[in-house]
Amino acid sequence: MIDRMKDIYAKHKIAAWLILLAILVTMPMYVSISNMRIVCRIMLYVILAGGLNIINGYCGQLCFGIAGFYCVGSYVQAVLMKTYHVSFWLALIPSGIAAALIGALVALPALRLKGIFLGMITIGFSELVRLIALNWTSVTGGAMGIKGIMAPKFFGIKLGGASKYYYIFLGVVLIYLFCTNRIIRSRVGRAWLSIREDELAAKSLGVDIKRYKILNFMYGSFWAGIAGAVYVAYSSYVDSTYFTLDEGFNVLGMLIIGGQGTLIGPIVGSVVAQVLTEALRVINIWRYVVYAGLIILMMWVRPQGLVGASGSMLAGNKAEKKKAAKGCVEKLERKEA
């Protein structure tokens, strides 16, 4: 079944992508406004989880503080738009770059740390950023937040509301997918993968670990910052309660459920999480319990996630071991024959 589908896909690759694109572009015409809001949220979390996927999934680092980068991006965007009256499109790039610079700052200790140390320092940093945003009242408005951020205009059309703003999300997601796809297939992406699989081996083969790790953190946090920047103009309001540790774990959960180390993983994770959120609205308070249970279940059954990179370090080397064992058996059988 899956093989046949793959065959069909290989034959009509361009047609399949065009159909998908057509469905995505025309979506606001036949989907109700309340459902468009869900779609917008899915898109937002695709970018966020995608940024985290670059750090956790492709480079094998343990970053749990994605909310910090998200926070930096949104506040830079909000302050630029509100205080300095910069247009949305112009402010987008600086907010991404600001998050990327902070990412480089976090990557500096990350060069020497691993595992739980790295996880803790990213969490600490994320909380630090949030607390600064909460207490630096003169710039960020403190607990009151920044209100009344205008929706952007595109050639005179005001892109307010979920059904119009959807196109901005869609554009950013497509650019993210395109750029990341190119980068993962380039020299840089292969360096990241080699760091994930075996840092020592990569180093001995001449991969500049320091440079590529910093690049990795900068690229991942850049997209988290962009996600924040886009979200600010969508919700027209920002305060520090958006960026708690729980939000970071939420995004991490999506990535884990969806799958790490593949492009489609964050998309699947985000869709699953949002659909779960809507489906479990009836038992509202139990929602996160189910969510947390899913994370544990995923680690037990499929550590790389639903559509994650199987056969990699992320899968706990289970697939490799199985393959190796199979190979041994085959060799023995051949010998006996």
């Binding site: 094998g60 343990l62 749990f64 500096l108 200790p109 020497r112 740390l113 691993k114 595992g115 739980i116 140390f117 996880g119 803790m120 320092i121 969490i123 600490g124 940093f125 909380e127 630090l128 607390l131 600064i132 909460l134 207490n135 540790l245 729980d246 774990f249 991490l252 959960g253 884990i256 308070i285 139990w286 996160y288 319990v289 969510y291 947390a292 249970g293 899913l294 994370i295 544990i296 680690m299 037990w300 550590p303 370090m313 992320l314 706990g316 080397n317 289970k318």
Partner: protein
């Protein structure tokens, strides 16, 4: 000359540092000595606090009963954590069990919000709040009780680790699991009990925090586990006495920090301390001898 205010802040910081030291001790036992990665420590603190709260409200003011309850409750949760997050993943890359503990901490936090309620619960007055003055130093009875409890527990733990056969077994497991199994140590059981001891320390610390701050709530653990980590890094996560020292220092830094700025910056100081330590001295101030990082 130190003003009265500064002296009070020093005493408060020291007392808080003692609690942090107890949390950091548990953390150092789990992460450093047993060699597991955990993110549930904060939630276990919360479980311990709630266990003692319900015992206090059911059975009245009996400190030892509360201590026993929080100890047992967090021990049981420790077993659960071990079964769910560690037992299957002893031989696979560490990040899997790490993410598993994150999931478990989310689970505990949200279950606590459902069953215990999201609002802050006031802890009962277990100890009458008498204040003793020793010259310029003023110290309350609560603070004395906390310090004595922490000292007694850590002395007990040091005795167990250094002088009993089981402590030696635990240290051998932390150095090399295969070799420990070869000489007939039940590795899985040793790891489980080590994990449970660390958790139980956290549970007792939760009770002490409840008594000290007079308020407990389901999300109280999130920043506390981070502070424990900050304190434990000072000892490179492996040295128990240095972790305790780190806890003391952290408490002092926080209270001196907020005495020169405002109270809302409390966490900023501890996280800043954590990041500075991790940047400049990620291995802590201890020389490693064949111990897991």
């Amino acid at each position: 000359m130190l003003s009265q205010y500064m002296i009070n802040q020093l005493v408060n910081g020291l007392c808080q540092g003692f609690i942090y030291a107890l949390i950091a001790l548990g953390f150092a036992v789990i992460v450093g000595i047993v060699g597991l990665a955990t993110f549930t420590h904060g939630e276990i603190i919360m479980i311990g606090a709630y266990a003692s709260y319900y015992i206090f409200s059911a059975c009245g003011n009996n400190l030892f009963l509360g201590l026993f309850a929080s100890f047992c409750a967090s021990w049981l949760v420790g077993i659960l954590v071990y079964k769910l997050c560690y037992e299957q993943f002893l031989n696979v890359p560490e990040h899997i069990s790490l993410i598993c503990t994150i999931g478990f901490s989310m689970l505990l936090k949200n279950l606590a919000q459902i069953f215990f309620g999201t609002e802050k619960k006031p802890m009962l007055d277990i100890i009458d709040n008498r204040i003793y003055s020793l010259g310029p130093v003023e110290i309350s009875k609560v603070q004395i009780v906390i310090m004595v409890t922490v000292l007694a527990l850590s002395a007990l733990m040091m005795m167990i680790f250094n002088w009993t056969k089981w402590g030696v077994a635990l240290r051998s497991v932390s150095q090399n699991r295969e070799a420990a199994a070869l000489v007939g140590i039940n590795v899985k059981q040793t790891i489980m009990v080590g994990n449970c001891i660390g958790c139980a320390m956290a549970g007792v610390a939760g009770m002490l925090i409840g008594i000290y701050y007079q308020a407990i709530y389901p999300t109280m653990g999130a920043t506390l586990s981070m502070k424990a980590f900050a304190a434990a890094t000072l000892g490179g996560l492996t040295s128990v006495p240095l972790s305790a020292l780190g806890g003391g220092i952290l408490g002092l830094i926080e209270n001196l920090g907020i005495s020169i700025s405002s109270a809302s910056f409390r966490d900023v100081f501890s996280f800043g301390f954590l990041i500075i330590i991790l940047i400049f001295k990620p291995t802590g101030f201890v020389k490693r001898k064949g111990v897991r990082p």
